[in-house]
Symmetry: C2
Subunit: 215 residues, 2 copies
Amino acid sequence: MDHGRSPGHRAGLTHAAVLSAARELLAEHGIAGLTMRMLAARLDVAPNALYSHVASKTALVDALLDDVLGEVAVLTPSVENPALGLHQLMTSTYDVLVGHADLVPLYLSRQGAHGPNALRLGEVTLDLLRRAGVPEPTASDALRVLIVYTIGFAAFTRHLPATGGSERRPSAAEMQSSFEHGLGWLLAGISDDHPDAQSHLRFASETEPKRPARK
Amino acid sequence: MDHGRSPGHRAGLTHAAVLSAARELLAEHGIAGLTMRMLAARLDVAPNALYSHVASKTALVDALLDDVLGEVAVLTPSVENPALGLHQLMTSTYDVLVGHADLVPLYLSRQGAHGPNALRLGEVTLDLLRRAGVPEPTASDALRVLIVYTIGFAAFTRHLPATGGSERRPSAAEMQSSFEHGLGWLLAGISDDHPDAQSHLRFASETEPKRPARK
DNA sequence: ACCTGAACACCGTTCAAGT
DNA sequence: ACCTGAACACCGTTCAAGT
């Protein structure tokens, strides 16, 4: 594989190139195809050459997920309607993660070394919660709940466990619909715990425009 | 390792013995220690001997998780108070899964070949939802949402991502508290969608006795 | 600093035997 | 049917070189 290159010559790899090739590999061959050796082969490089640009495979996966998280749409801070902004942010995160569902379980099994994009999303969410009038002890709970709920649902969109009885596997569209229902319940519950909130979060799920089903 | 045993003699393994040894291995050495070869070594057996009792490693993991799920307390069907039964069932599931949090991400990454215990839990949950007065299109959504929420939270109890800013890692007790808050929001939201429900699910989270923090 | 060659210490799984 | 011995086709990672 390694195109005629003697020990001293370099291939011109970069961290970004490795990351980008990893994303392609993941998209094409799924999670099973994402190995250091396959990645090296795709880059026409010896397997150990990758370690000049990536500390380890787990570091690669962490970087990969944060890279994906960078695609989440963080619209104008929605100062006027934080409730709607909250709903939009979670659904956008859900959409992006579903597009790379293989990555989530892999990320779950590691120490969550959170990248800058993940941190940014957490901060934006917390900010929206506060603006919606949710006071501090509850806001932290709500942040955790929303994150876990969204990521958990994204991880499950492919294979849902035990939906009871002999029912067939729910489609991606059904999963998205269930996700949206549950998100509405959560946002309503958060808001109902604090009736002095400036606007009911429940409002968001009703005014949100329909998204097209994923390809 | 293999105690003097010639090719023809048997070691007396059973499916249950393999499964039990796998649980011990998981508890002692974590997820990294759960390999077919380590498992064989612990049973004083050649690695390939396991394949007489287990089809593959993924089948082992599936069986392992369903075995764990068998520990979930399914109390008297709570005919009188389905709302409280629902809350109790989810918290029990959460507690059990948190005790084996390593298993969940591994389970997520596979095709969810659902064992009998998982199916039973799904059916019991759905039954409770119906008894609580939740009509059918919503009940399926609620079932999915509750399952995903509970399993997702269990998977995250060790490493929570992006709780925003530079806050330190939440403790297990904090995670449990957040889980319970979110569960209350969900149950309240489900019940509020159907005001004719025989009893507000919200009621459950208020009458539920305190559980001791996990060891 | 970046890359190669070779190797180490593992994996899950299969195949041909033995009783 | 259950187990061993040996092997296959992989892994991630390290170490000593080369330029």
